[in-house]
């Protein structure tokens, strides 16, 4: 009788061990997914910011003159591609009218000089 009870307890231990391993696996997977979701959230926010910057620059060019703008992200413009830091999210400007620039987070000026929009940090 004692012998049989010992066997049941080994099986129970095995099942508990297996369940524990499965839940450990799920926990690791969940942590990895949460990390991915956090990055994805940051990417979406940065992508929206990038599109807003791109829109604002084209509007500034069309409105002729100079505009003072604020950005929550540092970004660079090179060959009509805007790269938003720190995750290097990119988007394009649909008109080749913005000069290359590196703009740091905060206020900057967009000034139309002839056929080009020149960006400078303030």
């Amino acid at each position: 009788m004692n012998n049989k009870r010992g066997q049941v307890s080994t099986e129970a231990l095995f099942v508990i061990g297996a369940i524990f391993l499965i839940f450990m696996g799920i926990a690791v997977f969940r942590m990895e997914k949460m990390r991915e979701i956090t990055f994805l959230k940051q990417d979406i926010v940065a992508k929206n910011a990038c599109l807003e910057i791109s829109d604002a620059l084209v509007q500034a060019f069309l409105s002729t003159g100079s505009a003072r703008m604020k950005t929550d992200y540092s970004f660079s413009v090179y060959r009509q591609v805007i790269t938003v830091m720190p995750r290097n999210i990119t988007c394009v400007i649909t008109s080749n009218v913005v000069s290359s620039a590196n703009i740091t987070k905060g206020f900057f000026r967009a000034e139309r000089q002839g056929e080009t929009l020149v960006l400078t940090n303030i």
Partner: protein, 163 residues
């Protein structure tokens, strides 16, 4: 019913299989939901990108003469294409030159090499006055603007869609 020791073990195994099956079905459901959600988020981001591009191009076409302003008379590729010497009033020469331009050259100028586009100009009776590009069944974003063309009120429709 009296359950013997060996029968009890069989019952436990059946229980275990049912529990495992439910667990696996739940896991598969959760993972597939996560994958669908991720795909939907990416598709939404791509749509927003397309919308922003379509909006920018449509605004530039109807509010700017382009760069250089007389690009329609130059043989070199324009830096930026605009059709309106005066905001919202489209020039016949610019529209005519735009519709004659090479399709890929226009896409390159607009920086939309990963997308296709179609441009259409209608009068208010829906008669087609000018067009460029092809229609597609793919997901698209369409922007319309009221303009003056040939001294008549017209509607410009600019559509960007996936390849």
């Amino acid at each position: 019913m009296k359950i013997t020791t060996s029968n009890r073990a069989q019952v436990m195994m059946t229980d275990l299989f049912i529990a495992l099956s439910i667990f696996l079905i739940l896991m598969i459901a959760i993972f597939s939901f996560m994958m669908v959600y991720e795909r939907r988020v990416n598709s939404n981001m791509a749509y927003e990108d397309m919308r922003a591009k379509a909006m920018q191009i449509a605004n530039f076409l109807v509010k700017s003469p382009g760069v250089p302003a007389d690009w329609e008379y130059n043989s070199t590729s324009p830096q930026a294409i605009g059709l309106a010497p005066v905001p919202l009033i489209l020039s016949n020469d610019k529209v005519a030159n735009f519709t004659r331009m090479d399709y890929d050259k226009i896409r390159k100028t607009f920086n939309i090499r990963h997308y296709d586009f179609s441009f259409m100009l209608f009068d208010l009776d829906s008669n087609l006055l000018a067009s460029k590009g092809n229609e597609s069944e793919n997901e698209s974003v369409s922007i319309s603007r009221y303009v003056r063309f040939n001294n008549t009120n017209s509607i410009m429709l600019f559509k960007v869609f996936r390849h």
